[in-house]
């Protein structure tokens, strides 16, 4: 048994504790030590994740590099980890994004001058970077957990550091009103997700009780799914549907699926750009990932039963999110609504239950993470320069800061899925996968790409083009650190758009396995090309 996966989780966790324990102080040197320590830890995590992904053999067993340690023996709960292709790419995504987010948020947690009547928080910097590492550790455990209870614990636990990140650190601008908005956003985030988690806990316990009654007292995912596949564990359809809904509700809140999305614009709008990236690109992905792994794996029949309803909701989400993005006045909220539209695509791909749809959805999680991170971080740089999130406060930035404008445009183009950039591949796969089973939904969703072009380009036009506005004059272009943040993201967006094969090779086997768990095969083409000529015309 190798300790590779445990190490991948333990390193950021230990790093979080270490960073938090570093000596406090408001001197620049102390803050620097803190930041460099956290960055080094996240780099080490990235290295471990890369090694794990390299050691993973796509043709081998579904879960590899497995480890298991007994945790709560009387309930059959183990600390068991294992990685499959889908988990591997998402762990990689997380490990890549965290150091970039840290670099982008380099000065976000520098102590702000304390307002009258409050005391200065001298551990602010330590706290911020430790919280990011804590989120990273918990997200990685969620992606690797092969024990339902273990997954649940970390799925819930990551809310706590996220709560503090949202509520404690925001844009420097803004007085008491901004702080009030921020704490509203943080509480809303926490309440929504706790509610989801609570329902899921009931379903987790319900699943265990049913399994125990049939002599399968375990939380182990692989044992449960194989017992279900072999017919050793038979869940009555009504119970299965109820349990499915319990799990799905939690994931749909986190993902977020329309109409459970309203916490996301607040959370992303009020937090720092770095935190917003963590929310939309990393934490929310646990939700969609869990739909794919837990909902489909544990409740295949209920998944099929609810698939049409979920698809309708996700298509509504696609169009609704895009339309709302068009109507926004706030840059970050616009990006948040765009993300809601994208999550609609991901969920649609998962529940279309075709290999194109699910491979596309998995790629979509990665590509959306990378491209939205680029867009959002550049938006963050822009906002930090002007101190305003309102679109109307900008204009003509292109003239004074061409590199900033250029990278912002690339981020926008990636969001509207321009062919040649990574999101196009995944979006098209999702659309094709959906279309081949549900043509009408596929066509409606396709119109989402027009709306995507509308909000992305309108945002660019209003902020970057036209005459230079007063507050924009003299704005500095991207600094070296900021270019170092954006460059890898842009490079990845282009590379994965042209050559996504390394990812698809990892993902395909896991998707096949998932599809076979739900007993679904791809719809066959009406007139396959390989067929010899002379087939009857309809």
């Amino acid at each position: 048994m190798s300790y590779l996966l445990t190490a991948t989780c333990v390193v950021p966790a230990a790093g979080a504790i270490l960073t938090a324990a570093l000596p406090a102080g408001s001197t620049e040197a102390r803050r620097r030590t803190t930041k460099l320590t956290a960055l080094a830890v996240s780099a080490a995590t990235l290295a471990l994740a890369a090694v794990a992904a390299a050691r993973f053999e796509p043709g081998g067993a579904r879960y590899q590099l497995t480890e298991s340690y007994s945790w709560i023996r009387s309930f059959g709960i183990n600390f068991s980890l294992g990685v499959d292709g889908i988990g591997a790419v998402l762990v990689l995504l997380t490990a890549v994004l965290v150091p970039i987010v840290m670099l982008a948020s380099w000065h976000d947690a520098d102590p702000a001058p304390a307002p009258e009547g409050t005391f200065e928080n001298r551990r602010r910097t330590q706290g911020f970077f430790a919280l990011i590492l804590a989120v990273e550790a918990m997200v990685i455990v969620s992606f690797l957990a092969t024990d339902v209870f273990l997954f649940y614990v970390f799925f819930e636990a990551m809310l706590i550091p996220m709560y503090f990140l949202i509520g404690g650190f925001g844009d420097k601008a803004g007085g008491p009103e901004a702080a009030r908005q921020r704490s509203y956003a943080a509480v809303k985030f926490l309440l929504y997700n706790l509610l989801g988690g609570l329902v899921m806990l009931a379903a987790v316990i319900g699943l265990y009780v049913i399994a125990q009654q049939q002599g399968q007292a375990t939380f182990d995912l692989q044992s449960l799914t194989s017992a279900i596949a072999d017919g050793k564990l038979v869940i009555d359809p009504t119970a299965e549907r109820a349990l499915f809904l319990g799990f799905f509700f939690a994931f749909a809140v986190k993902a977020p699926l329309w109409p459970l999305h309203t916490w996301l614009p607040n959370a992303m709008g009020e937090s720092t750009a770095g935190t917003a990236v963590l929310i939309t690109a990393v934490v929310d992905k646990v939700g969609t990932f869990a739909m794919l792994r837990f909902c489909l794996g544990l409740f295949p029949d209920a998944s099929k039963f609810f698939a049409p309803a979920i698809l309708v909701l996700s298509v509504i989400g696609i169009i609704y999110g895009a339309l709302l993005a068009v109507g926004q006045k706030d840059i970050k909220r616009l990006i948040a609504y765009a993300s809601i539209s994208h999550f609609g695509f991901i969920i649609m791909g998962i529940f279309a239950m075709t290999s194109q749809g699910q491979s596309g959805a998995t790629l979509y999680m990665v590509n959306h993470g990378i491209s939205t991170a680029a867009w959002l971080l550049v938006a963050g740089f822009l906002i930090s320069r002007r101190g305003s999130r309102l679109i109307a406060d900008y204009g003509g930035v292109q003239k004074v800061a061409p590199v900033l404008a250029g990278t912002f445009l690339i981020g926008g183009l990636a969001t509207l899925s321009l062919p040649g950039l990574a999101p196009f591949v995944s979006e098209f796969l999702v659309l094709v996968g959906t279309f081949s089973r549900y043509p009408v939904l596929g066509i409606i969703a396709t119109f989402g790409i027009v709306l995507a072009a509308l909000y992305a380009l309108v945002l660019y036009q209003r902020t970057m083009t036209g005459p230079v506005k007063d507050g924009v004059r003299g704005m500095a272009d991207l600094k070296v650190r900021e270019i170092a943040v954006v460059a890898p993201l842009v490079a990845l967006t282009v590379f994965l758009g042209v050559y996504p094969k390394p990812l698809t090779d990892l993902v395909n086997p896991a998707v096949n396995d998932t599809l076979s768990q739900v007993h679904r095969t791809d719809p066959a083409p009406a007139h396959p090309v390989a067929e010899p000529a002379g087939g009857e015309q309809k």
């Binding site: 309440l191 292109q398 081949s436 036009q461 083409p525 009406a526 000529a533």
Partner: protein, 631 residues
């Protein structure tokens, strides 16, 4: 030799990357680097063309597989190129005209501080356009398709500080996106019907599919073509696209990109041939646009917008020809190539005029320029003669063939189409003569601008005139060369197929009719604009003129039908999201909070009241117990 094919795309792509990422160090010679990349691609194209000429007909198409792009179960998309007679024709047109326009831009953009970036975008456009015509499957074509859209977006909005340019760029991209939805759906339909979207696979299996499936695919492809080629109903972006620098209008919005729709339909002939209903739709779109563009072209005073209307109309001819089926494919492409020459030449001439007139675009402020710009006058004049179809010049051979093919469609349909194309030819002659007279003949009408600067019309530098001269040669001789011994027909026939059809009129009759229409158009324009001085402020004009000046109310229509309801919907949803969905949740929270604060009052801190509630509770308990016992 085939390894040159990827280099066709790679050369301008590398140029674009270098120019856009290279930074200021490249400012001094970046434009020459860009021109070199384009020229290199043209040379590769020529080499490939001659090597293709040397092979026998069935050996000519070649196929190069680069790498597997998106391999997912049951879904195989490759980066692979297919070079055949059709694509090499496009390659030569794109790289040839492209190189000339790069050269022209060296002079035209000489005073622009962002010239390096301009050349970067131009190179990006070439790469995307070459990818579009070289792809061996629809998905890769889609990449090129949106790639040219992106380049077009960047170039229309090149002068981003002008709000009108930024708006026009966004409009072009959005309208094109609507077309792209069509292409997306077409590919999805192909995938569900055939499990494949390579040209080879789809065309091979097309025969087995039902007619309704093929019609659906064909209509979706037509939607895509309408977007890219500015055909009704997605035509509205082309006029605004003239906000871009003139070389862009010449290359992208006249010679190459806007003809991509014709390429798409011709390339997919195997589908359209089996879907007559889709073909009818194609023909209708072509016929309507051909008249629409021509009418708009008659009313515009902006020289570039008049030419844009003309472009729309000429592409209408091509789309119509492509919709005619095997009778028309070859002539659609032939007109496309000759149009590439003369329309690019006309735009470059217009650019040269603007260059000499301090960026004035209103033709009513021109007049008598032939004396000041002799080279521009001659090259523009040759282009003019070519486009109206003056016998012996390029446009004559290609347009005549399309009119003939329209009659050859047969039946009532043939007569209607034939008449439409004839009317179109007359109107073309009218508006082009108008442009010619207003610009180069008559009295000089230019005026001092607000600051009192009098324009000093002058001939453009040689980097600009040289491409115009080359294109003028093309405008004069290309048609004759293609028509000689039916060489173009024989070249493309193996790819697109060809049939003669049965025309009710003889070839000579059609030529005579066309020439008569041409004469009527020219004469009419001379009567209106040539005999009396042209007023500097436009007369009010008839209802039709006023409507045509506003592009036959296309923007008003789109605004009323799409934009206004759309933004109202978005605003309503924003309100509903915060007040409805979010309001429900917040209301729930407020309700719980309210109940709690009421309940909190019970804990008033007085021992007495706690004691009272204890007594009360005890009493209730005892009473219940007693009652239960008695029952």
């Amino acid at each position: 030799m085939n390894s040159l094919i990827p280099l066709l795309v790679a050369a301008p792509l590398a140029g674009a990357a270098l120019l856009l990422l290279g930074g200021r160090a490249l400012d001094r010679f970046g434009h020459w680097l860009g021109t070199l990349a384009a020229a290199l691609s043209f040379v590769f194209g020529l080499v490939l063309f001659f090597s293709m000429l040397g092979r026998s007909t069935d050996q000519r198409p070649v196929h190069v597989q680069l790498f597997s792009w998106v391999p997912v179960n049951g879904f195989q998309a490759d980066v692979a190129f297919q070079l055949d007679q059709l694509s090499i024709t496009f390659v030569l047109l794109i790289t040839g005209v492209g190189t000339l326009i790069h050269l022209y831009s060296v002079g035209y953009m000489a005073h622009d501080e962002r010239r390096r970036r301009f050349f970067g975008y131009l190179n990006l456009f070439l790469a995307a356009m070459l990818l579009l015509v070289l792809a061996d499957n629809y998905l890769l074509l889609y990449v090129g398709w949106e790639g040219v859209g992106l380049a077009s977006y960047l170039l229309i909005g090149f002068w981003q500080h002008k709000p009108s340019a930024a708006t026009a760029a966004k409009k072009a991209f959005l309208v094109n996106r609507v077309g792209d939805v069509g292409l997306s759906i077409a590919i999805m339909l192909m995938f569900t019907d055939f499990g494949n979207f390579t040209y080879l696979g789809v065309f091979g299996a097309a025969g087995q599919a039902s007619r309704s499936q093929l019609t659906a695919i064909g209509l979706m492809l037509l939607l895509a073509a309408c977007g890219k080629s500015a055909q009704v109903p997605l035509q509205s972006w082309l006029g605004d696209a003239m906000e871009g620098p003139t070389p862009v209008s010449a290359l992208i919005h006249a010679a190459t990109m806007v003809t991509a729709g014709v390429y798409l339909i011709t390339r997919s002939h195997a589908i359209f041939d089996l879907a007559p209903d889709a073909q009818t739709a194609v023909v209708c779109v072509g016929a309507v646009t051909l008249l629409f563009g021509a009418i708009v072209g008659c009313a515009k005073d902006d020289i570039k917008k008049a030419l844009a209307g003309s472009t729309m109309s000429q592409i209408g001819y091509m789309i119509l020809a492509a919709g005619l089926g095997p009778i028309g494919y070859v002539f659609a492409i032939m007109h496309l190539v000759t149009h590439g020459f003369f329309k690019a030449g006309l735009f470059l001439g217009a650019g040269s005029v603007m260059h000499g007139m301090d960026d004035e675009v209103n033709m009513r402020h021109y007049g008598g320029l032939r004396k000041y710009m002799p080279i521009t006058f001659v090259t523009f004049g040759l282009g003019y003669l070519a486009i109206i179809g003056f016998p012996g010049l390029s446009g004559f051979f290609s347009k005549d063939k399309i009119i003939e093919a329209a009659f050859a469609k047969g039946g009532t349909e043939g007569w209607i189409l034939g008449l439409v194309t004839l009317v179109g030819a007359a109107v073309t002659a009218f508006y082009m003569t108008r442009v010619m007279i207003l610009t180069f003949f008559g009295e000089k009408r230019w005026q001092a601008d607000d600051e009192g600067h009098q324009p000093h019309p002058h001939e453009s530098p040689s980097t600009m005139t040289l491409p115009m001269i080359v294109l003028a040669f093309g405008s004069v001789f290309a048609g004759g060369l293609f028509a000689f011994n039916s060489s173009f027909l024989k070249w493309l026939e193996p790819i697109t197929g060809h049939s003669e059809g049965n025309s009710p009129l003889s070839s000579l009759t059609v030529t005579l009719l066309t020439s008569a229409c041409l004469l009527v158009g020219v004469a009419l324009a001379y009567v209106v604009y040539g005999r009396s001085p042209v007023p500097v402020t436009p007369p009010v004009g008839s209802v039709l003129t006023r409507a045509a000046r506003r592009d036959l109310l296309q923007d008003e229509f789109n605004h009323a039908v799409l934009v206004r309801p759309g933004s109202a919907l978005a605003a309503a949803l924003v309100y509903l999201d915060s007040k409805g969905l979010d309001g429900f949740v917040n209301g729930l929270a407020a309700a719980i909070g309210g109940i709690s604060s009421r309940l909190r009052r019970v804990q008033n801190g007085y021992v007495r009241s706690y004691a009272l509630s204890m007594f009360g509770g005890t009493l209730v308990l005892v009473a219940t117990t007693l009652l239960m016992r008695s029952v």
